[in-house]
């Protein structure tokens, strides 16, 4: 076999042609088409004899080369029918080869750069500082969000609970006291923990009114870490002060 080349190493027909031209030290502007076609076809034959799947592009180029060869064999005068002088039939191929070589070169230059993750390394992970921040970076929740939560929860209630008669009706004041005692000694409390697993309408409303009151009195702060995330309750005053708090139900106006 005349052309001892590793066939898989060629990216495509242009790559193979460039290799053959270089190897034979041919002048790229005057490629001996007959010669290169022979070598090209021999290489493809070798590929096929090794049962390598020769891509369609290689065969297409073979056809192009054969076509070029036949055109170059034709007497020039007969082909010159137009007024302009005919371009060398090889010109387009030469342009493509030089262009391809340019990008092949550029590809090599890219590969020679200091590639991230191969030659140089950066901190491609969130810093612990930022991770910690994102957890306790709360946005203040407005009344609007509260009401929205209420509406959502109400709409999720089963219909029949509308008519349920609650035996133990909690007053807003009792609820306020309950909330404050579950908050006592804690730094924060998820809002959802204030409710039983299947709260009825009355419980929801009383709890919300209690919450609104506590916010108004600036006794608790409601904060949320992300929009639509968990709502957290924070005691706004020191723990001891909470226990001595007296609430006048009439004053609140919910009785």
């Amino acid at each position: 076999m005349p052309y001892a080349v590793k066939l898989e190493q060629f990216e495509g027909p242009l790559d193979l042609l460039l290799h053959l031209i270089r190897k034979n030290e041919m002048d790229i502007y005057h490629i001996p088409i007959a010669e290169i076609t022979a070598q090209y076809l021999a290489t493809i034959d070798a590929m096929q004899s090794l049962n390598l799947d020769v891509a369609g592009e290689f065969l297409l180029m073979a056809a192009t080369l054969l076509h070029l060869k036949s055109r170059l064999l034709l007497p020039q005068a007969e082909e010159e029918t137009g007024e302009e002088e005919e371009e060398d039939p090889r010109a387009e191929l030469v342009r493509r080869l030089l262009e391809y070589q340019k990008y092949k070169e550029a590809a090599g230059q890219l590969d020679a750069r200091l590639v991230l993750g191969r030659d140089v390394f950066s901190r491609r992970f969130p810093s612990p500082e930022l991770a910690a921040l994102e957890e306790d970076e709360f946005q203040s929740v407005g009344i609007y969000e509260l009401v929205e939560v209420l509406r959502d929860m109400l709409s999720n209630l089963p219909k029949d609970s509308y008519h349920e008669v609650t035996v133990e009706q909690l007053s807003v004041t009792e609820r306020i006291n309950q909330i404050m005692s579950s908050l006592a000694g804690r730094e924060q409390l998820p809002f959802a923990d204030l409710f039983s697993a299947r709260p009825n309408r009355a419980e929801l409303i009383v709890t919300f009114l209690a919450m609104l009151e506590l916010v108004k009195l600036r006794m608790v702060r409601l904060l949320q870490n992300t929009r639509f995330g968990t709502i957290w309750l924070f005691p706004a005053v020191a723990g001891e002060a909470l226990e001595n708090l007296e609430l006048d139900e009439d004053h609140l106006g919910y009785a």
Binding site: L14, R22, G108, V120
Partner: protein
């Protein structure tokens, strides 16, 4: 007035992606031209001998990176083998980088082979992105390189790509591999 240089150092350190001059200036509430000389100073300090990290300008921002001569040790710690690009990927990337915006048919004309698979890989790796569709029949997709491409290859911006050599003759076979790195 706090000392700004260590704050800048902390800001760049803590970011996953390169931090731009504008971001730093905004956080510090300072003029860019007051921040820039400090960035340069930091960069020089890190470049001095005896340090394992460099402050580099990549993808329009600043990022700390390990010194290339220590790559082997870093890989040992993470037990990673150095990865290799396929030639198809590199060629396609080079063509897109220099010729963008570009459509698939143009890439394939330049490479002489079908490039759908390699394009898909480059899109998956986020090195290439779809810029839109071309206003020609068939509305083919237009491709370009991403910010990740710049980050990956340590380029400040696209202008930082070495100019394409106008090659009027053949270059010797090996040169494309040995040709200089920055």
């Amino acid at each position: 007035m706090p000392d700004l240089k260590p704050i800048i150092e902390a800001l760049i350190f803590v970011s996953e992606a390169p931090v731009t001059l504008a971001q730093i200036a905004e956080v510090l509430d300072e003029e860019k031209n007051r921040v820039l000389p400090l960035l340069r100073q930091l960069s020089e300090e890190y470049a001095a001998a005896g340090r394992g990290i460099l402050l580099e300008q990549v993808a329009g921002g600043y990022q700390f990176r390990t010194r290339p001569e220590y790559a082997e040790w870093v890989r040992r710690l993470s037990r990673n083998k150095p990865f290799r690009f396929s030639r198809a990927a590199l060629e396609t990337l080079a063509i897109i980088a220099y010729r963008q915006p570009i459509i698939r048919a143009e890439i394939e004309y330049l490479r002489g082979v079908d490039s759908g698979g390699v394009l898909k890989t480059l899109l998956d790796k986020r090195l290439v992105r779809i810029l839109g569709k071309k206003d020609v029949p068939g509305r083919p997709m237009i491709y370009g390189t991403s910010k990740e491409f710049l980050e990956f290859f340590g380029l400040k911006d696209l202008a930082g790509l070495p100019t394409l050599k106008e090659l009027n003759e053949l270059v010797p076979e090996a040169s494309s591999v040995e040709e200089g790195s920055p």
